[in-house]
Symmetry: C2
Subunit: 455 residues, 2 copies
């Protein structure tokens, strides 16, 4: 231990090392606080690539595990410390190195906050779409590690689709440059994509080339009330089947709507069973919303309210964005699931989740990126009640089992971390896991990078 600190100090300034146990303890876990987490030996906050290389060389020499971290807003424990590890926090490597409107790329360090980048590129008329709910605090490095999604995915896709190239410090301290600055490129296996969503288990991302889009017109939102989740899902299918491309297509169930009203008096319609939000950022969003409104009515909507202006639209989005926080206030604890199914099966997924809530006698609020078939069932429970806690855990698993049954995945955007390790094995099967381990061994033969995550 003292050997570790001594060796780290040879290549790092004093301010880059935190050893005070009271402080290092605060780096022990991400937002999945209920997942197991160990006690770090030291927290390192490098500012340069060379410093990261020094940390990894030291870790390799001394066989010390390394847990990379961004802003620790993850929801699966992927950033949780293991006992005696080096926590490698990249938050101080937070420079935007380049924004090119002609090449439509940004080059950034991993600690840049998502919202900071988004605003910076906006000033150049550009748009960085990935927008996880935590976008005001989460880092690009964390987004890359967990392959984050967000509200915009139904039109713009996920983080993976915006990562063109990476500089990565490997487990042994070597620096790898992979991918490109170009719009296209097929030179060899796509290592860049392999790092995206690898939860820090293959290398430490120290720089990223990100693709940007031209900034679209401001989106306009419509809210539609439905008498049942089934009717709302029918509307979602009709909208997508007709070839519409909304910039957002979100569904809040009654539990979520009530929770949001309780938290912030948003005045959402409490009597509705399902509230669908749809937006367009097209040249004529009002026309697109009118067409979608008609489809909603045909599917049984009792009320269709298009926003008249961007301010009204923003209010509706705020309601949606605070859903998880609002549901967290329902009981003393929550477990947030993240099952994604083919959108044609969304109705079955929601009906099945309601049945699970009833079977386990629990409150489960569901907000969904409906256009993507990605549901976030939030199991609300009293963590001081052992029986309720057990039922919560069982319902959480039942929801994932249902997702797989419907041809879906156990995680649409939150990742595996420690939370869903067992379930990853179920989804991928023996052969899949064996190949994943083979890749891990090729990159990190000593198993030092974020051990105990994924599989």
């Amino acid at each position: 231990m003292s050997d570790l600190l001594e060796r780290l100090r040879t290549g790092l300034p004093a301010e880059a090392l935190i050893t005070d146990p009271d402080v290092t303890a605060s780096y022990a876990h991400d937002m999945a606080s209920f997942c197991e987490a160990g006690t770090p030996a030291v927290v390192v906050l490098p500012r340069t690539v060379e410093q990261v290389q020094h940390v990894m060389r030291t870790a390799t020499e001394l066989r010390v595990p390394v847990v990379p971290q961004g802003a620790r807003t993850g929801l699966s424990g992927a950033a949780n410390a293991s006992d005696g590890c080096i926590v490698l926090s990249l938050v101080r490597m937070d420079r935007i190195l380049e924004i090119s409107p002609v090449d439509r790329i940004a080059v950034v360090e991993p600690g840049v906050i998502n919202a900071v980048l988004s605003r910076a590129v906006n000033e150049h008329g550009l748009y960085y779409p990935p927008d996880p709910s935590s976008w005001e605090t989460c880092t690009i490095g964390g987004n890359i590690g967990t392959a984050s999604g967000g509200l915009c995915c139904v039109k713009y896709g996920v983080t993976a689709e915006y990562v063109l190239g990476l500089d990565v410090v490997l487990a042994d301290g070597r620096l790898l440059t992979t991918g490109r600055r170009t719009a296209k490129g097929v030179a060899g296996y796509d290592l860049t994509r392999l790092f995206v969503g690898s939860e820090g288990s293959l290398g430490i991302v120290v720089q990223a080339v990100l693709a940007l889009k031209p900034q679209p017109p401001q989106q306009l939102v419509l809210a539609a009330e439905f008498p049942s989740a089934a009717a709302a899902c029918d509307a979602v299918c009709r909208i997508m089947e007709r070839g519409h491309t909304p910039s957002l297509l979100e569904l809040m169930d009654r539990t979520t709507v009530r929770a949001v009203n309780a938290l912030a008096s948003m005045g959402l319609p409490e009597t509705t069973e399902a509230l669908l939000l749809c937006a367009f950022d097209t040249p004529d969003p009002a026309a697109d919303l009118a067409a979608v409104g008609a489809l909603c009515t045909a599917a049984g909507a009792t009320e269709v309210v298009p926003a008249d202006n961007p301010a009204e639209s923003e209010l509706l989005l705020q309601a949606r964005r605070m859903s998880l926080t609002a549901l967290e206030a329902v009981k003393s604890a929550t477990m947030i699931d993240d099952v994604c199914v083919p959108r044609s099966r969304l109705g079955e997924m929601l009906a099945g989740t309601a049945a699970i809530a009833e079977r386990y006698d629990l409150t489960i609020g569901v907000c969904s990126h409906a256009g993507d078939g990605n549901t976030h069932p939030v199991v609300c429970f009293d963590h001081t009640d052992p029986d309720e806690s057990r039922r919560a855990r069982e319902s959480f698993d039942a929801i994932m089992a249902l997702g797989l049954e419907l041809g879906g995945t156990i995680t649409g955007e939150h990742g595996v971390g420690v939370l869903k390790k067992e379930w990853l094995a179920r989804e991928l099967g023996e052969t899949g896991i064996e190949l994943q381990r083979g890749i891990k061994a090729a990159f990190d033969p000593l198993g030092l990078l974020n051990p105990g995550k994924l599989f």
Copy 2:
């Protein structure tokens, strides 16, 4: 050899095996006929997944290399046979298994022809964008293996972005299902993406889930004449910088324009130095073309001609699509390069290519996916002239060196195959190649799948 055939016959119908050397010889190489190619021991044409598994099990037992093939329209020799190999042609597995307008996916076997799929999904109001020049003959499996691009990439991206899930027969015959049918998913390392562009070296794709887009309005094309390549590249930068999203942005140099006229009397303007084609498939393409036309004029265009109707547009596209064929007719042989640079460096790339043509005293016609910075310099030479052949080869390499110098890649969409193996190592560096080999070893420890390709 007779042992190999005997074993293959135990799991394959007679019609699935070709052993006549005159016929198997025709499977020896793809369109890169000037690359080295061996003599296959046998050509196998399976119709089922089980048959593919039988082939791979047999190959593993007997340690026989396997070269997977689609329609052999590749341009880098990735489908070229090695001596004594099994050529595994997937062209008879050509069923479209499912098209879902709600989920916006198609499920297909690898032998489906790109154009057949494109037309089939059109009938459902859907669009499968990847459109390599060979789209009327090339297969989806080949497109996946080589990560094909096309004219649409500037707006719609490349094949990789449309592959959601794969069924893959591994080297030892095991069947792996990877990826998803869902819009999103982050369960483990992205093995699906790893197979895309792997040129058959990691496994045999036997089924694919492809993402589809809603069918856009028919595109309208504009042609602009420029007095220099530099001015045309300036226009390209202005168009992209202003936030336009053309569905096509192509550049033909004078050599290409003349070659096309010579081949098909297309009436293209022969006096121009650079002909830029730009298209939009937006709701109001004429308005977008007018804006782009103004930018072209500002950049020095001497003539800007928007097409009045889809028929005129189609004619301009036909001219572009026949560019390679036309350049092939200039001399007895051609070598087609595929360097992609950041679009801000496209002008330097074209100027440098012209200088290379002069230095080596060669005709090099260049057509470019200009919006992507992806150039196809076509070196035209007399293959019976040893000195000219040597200069052609040297100029081909000089073009790749220039691309790397400008921050680009040696291959934007044609792949590595045998043609660019040495150059892949230069682009990726020692560490990159070592990791690529590590991945290869994890999937194919005996090195039986398409040996001698990539690295």
